[in-house]
């Protein structure tokens, strides 16, 4: 970061010299153009981002606070919230671990099949979530690869928690790894090599050298992964079976409510998810701000 900042510094010093109120620079647009451009972007943002967001909260509170609270505290909603959080608790740590390990492997080591691994990590981005869900139905479904064996041993994978976890895990594999790989590649491994040569173990090197170097990128990746885990609809919808109070996650619960004419309740749960999303963005911004402060 500091390397990219340096060449810009001389430019900043030049600006006061060039800038003269009497002779407008070429970059200075007429006032009317400025205001039109600002107007267009503000209108666009309000129409496509602020208005829908506001509508969610307005619709959610349409029938009053009592209905709102009821909608997010009844047993089906609570079990959907619990299930979603449980999936987060399982999937995010696993993908964090996988992300760190694969990023270490790819950025610090050379081996055959490296580009294949990179491609595989990207695969979930390329594959539609619905296909991701169907893959697990084909593997673990009653007529699938392991179907007969699983049934005979009373193990339920799809239409139960393990299936939802697997599908979500698949969809969110790239988030942490993709965040870390370019970061670690650009940072290089000079410090790690120094640490090794001074006799530190691999674990010690990781904890005291690598982790502090990558922590902001790592946190950023975890947050993106977390957001996607909470919001994943397509893959989970295929493997969930939509059993109320058991295998409905929050996004699926919203769809159920909407299809049952309970529009206010649907928007109430949607607003809860929006709040989670807004919190995520907030944390993300704080992290970005902190990491900039640290690097500058």
């Amino acid at each position: 970061m500091s390397a990219t900042l340096l060449p810009e510094a001389p430019k900043q010093q030049k600006i006061p010299k060039v800038h003269n109120p009497k002779t407008p620079t070429t970059t200075k647009e007429p006032l009317i153009v400025q205001w039109t451009l600002i107007g267009i972007s503000v209108a666009f943002l309000s129409l496509f981002l602020l208005l829908p967001l506001a509508m969610i909260f307005i619709s959610a509170l349409q029938k009053g606070v009592v209905v709102y609270v009821e909608a997010i505290t009844n047993s089906e909603a609570l079990s959907a919230i619990k299930l979603t959080l449980l999936v987060v608790l399982i999937v995010v740590p696993l993908n964090t671990l996988f992300g760190i390990l694969s990023a270490l492997l790819i950025s610090h080591h050379h081996f055959k099949g490296k580009s294949l691994l990179l491609t595989l990590i990207d695969l979930p981005f390329a594959v539609s979530p619905v296909i991701a869900g169907l893959i697990f139905v084909l593997i673990f479904g009653a007529q699938g690869l392991f179907g007969e064996w699983l049934l005979n041993h009373d193990i339920y994978v799809i239409f139960a928690l393990p299936g939802i976890v697997l599908a979500t895990l698949f969809v969110t594999v790239p988030f942490v790894a993709r965040e870390l790989i370019p970061l670690m590649q650009s940072q290089g491994q000079a410090e790690e090599e120094a640490s090794h040569s001074l006799g530190a173990s691999a674990l010690k090197t990781f904890i005291y050298i690598t982790l502090p170097k990558i922590k902001w990128g790592l946190l950023y990746g975890i947050i993106l992964c977390n957001a996607r885990v909470i919001g994943e609809f397509g893959a989970v919808s295929v493997v969930s079976g939509h059993i109320r109070g058991l295998t409905n996650t929050m996004p699926l619960h919203i769809e159920v409510l909407y299809n049952e004419y309970q529009f206010t309740a649907a928007f109430a749960v949607a607003s809860l998810m929006s709040i989670l999303a807004l919190l995520t963005i907030l944390i993300k911004n704080v992290i970005e701000w902190r990491s900039k402060e640290v690097s500058s």
Partner: protein, 335 residues
């Protein structure tokens, strides 16, 4: 940091372990009903009444879990391994498929309960906007120019197949069973379809909430529900001169209930649908009850209409083959 992480992972495993053991404790007292789209409200009421009854008779508390979706999709889920104790689907074909593909229940399942295992019936009607601005009275009016029709896709929705067959029955009668003319009528009808949703409930939402279309071809119960949920001032129900007797069947998935030890309660649950109480609840939710006495009591709600049956089409297996398989008549007319 890694120590913390290890703790975290362990913590998650413990939590997931606890929750799954909780789930298995609950499972001994639960029943899973895998149903189709428009029965949400019906089974909400039935489940409440049955749980009460079961508690009185046996002292056991029972939780009935519901899963809803398009009938074909739900049948597929049972085949793929969702551990349904009972299925209550839109048409016999979907339950036949379960019996055929996985033999989870005997192939003669339809003879195990009265009335061909269909405890309630329904029919297909039109829902139009208040005042009936396009003056829609019968199937003829749906093929006129500038009439926008909403109906789900018969390839994925059980209700949509009933809609399709009802229209076909009308066209065949009017055209004295001339197939070419009947197909021309159907082609025009589906040419007027503005949105082809994948499920019956999706179509209702398109018509009622999003305000698209002049007429919704719908289950009678779904049409009444729209009136009550959204407002009697917005819509009217039109009953055509000829419709079809829709018989949504129910069945116990015997292999699953034997494995889970829920055979007795599953059978009791489906039998409950045939009791006076069960029939009354069906009628209240706008399904036509089989019980004559209760049907008479609700006769203003269910106008008598000339009804074709699935047997006029040679049964579901035959109808499916002619009309709805890939490359069947529906594919040929809707391109």
């Amino acid at each position: 940091m890694t120590k913390k992480m290890i703790f975290f992972v362990l913590f998650c495993l413990v939590i997931s372990g606890c929750s799954s053991s909780n789930a298995s404790e609950k499972e001994s007292l639960t029943l899973l009903n895998v149903s189709y789209d428009p029965t949400r409200e019906l089974y909400h009421d039935i489940n409440e009444a049955f749980a009460k009854q079961w508690q009185q008779d046996t002292g056991q508390t029972i939780t009935i879990q519901q899963s809803h979706g398009g009938s074909g999709k739900q049948g597929r889920a049972v085949i793929d391994g969702i551990r349904a104790d009972v299925v209550t689907l839109a048409l016999a074909y979907d339950i036949d498929e379960i019996a055929k593909n996985r033999s989870l229940l005997p192939t003669n399942w339809q003879q195990l309960l009265p009335n061909g295992s269909a405890p309630y019936t329904s029919t297909i009607v039109f829902l139009v906007r208040k005042g009936n601005p396009k003056n829609i009275r019968d199937w003829d009016d749906l093929v006129k120019d500038h009439v926008s029709v909403i109906t789900p896709n018969p390839k994925t929705s059980g209700g949509a197949r009933w809609n399709y067959l009802a229209a076909w029955a009308y066209a065949a009668t009017v055209n004295r069973h001339n197939d070419a003319q009947t197909i021309a009528f159907m082609k025009k009808l589906y040419g007027n379809v503005e949105v082809l949703d994948s499920g019956a409930r999706g179509s209702t939402t398109t018509f009622v909430e999003r305000g698209i279309g002049d007429v919704l071809i719908a289950w009678e119960n779904e049409a009444y529900l729209s009136l009550n949920e959204v407002g009697k001032d917005d819509f009217e129900i039109i009953t055509p001169s000829l419709s079809i007797l829709a018989e949504p069947p129910v069945a116990v998935i015997k292999k699953n209930t034997q494995r889970r030890g829920t055979n007795e309660v599953a059978n009791a649950y489906l039998s409950f649908l045939y009791t006076e109480k069960g029939q009354e609840i069906a009628a209240k939710n706008y399904y036509r009850p089989r019980n004559k006495k209760i049907l008479r009591h609700y006769n203003t709600q269910f106008p008598s209409v000339k009804l074709a049956t699935i047997n006029d089409f040679g049964g579901w297996q035959h109808a499916q083959k002619i009309h709805f398989t890939d490359g069947g008549l529906f594919d040929a007319m809707y391109q």
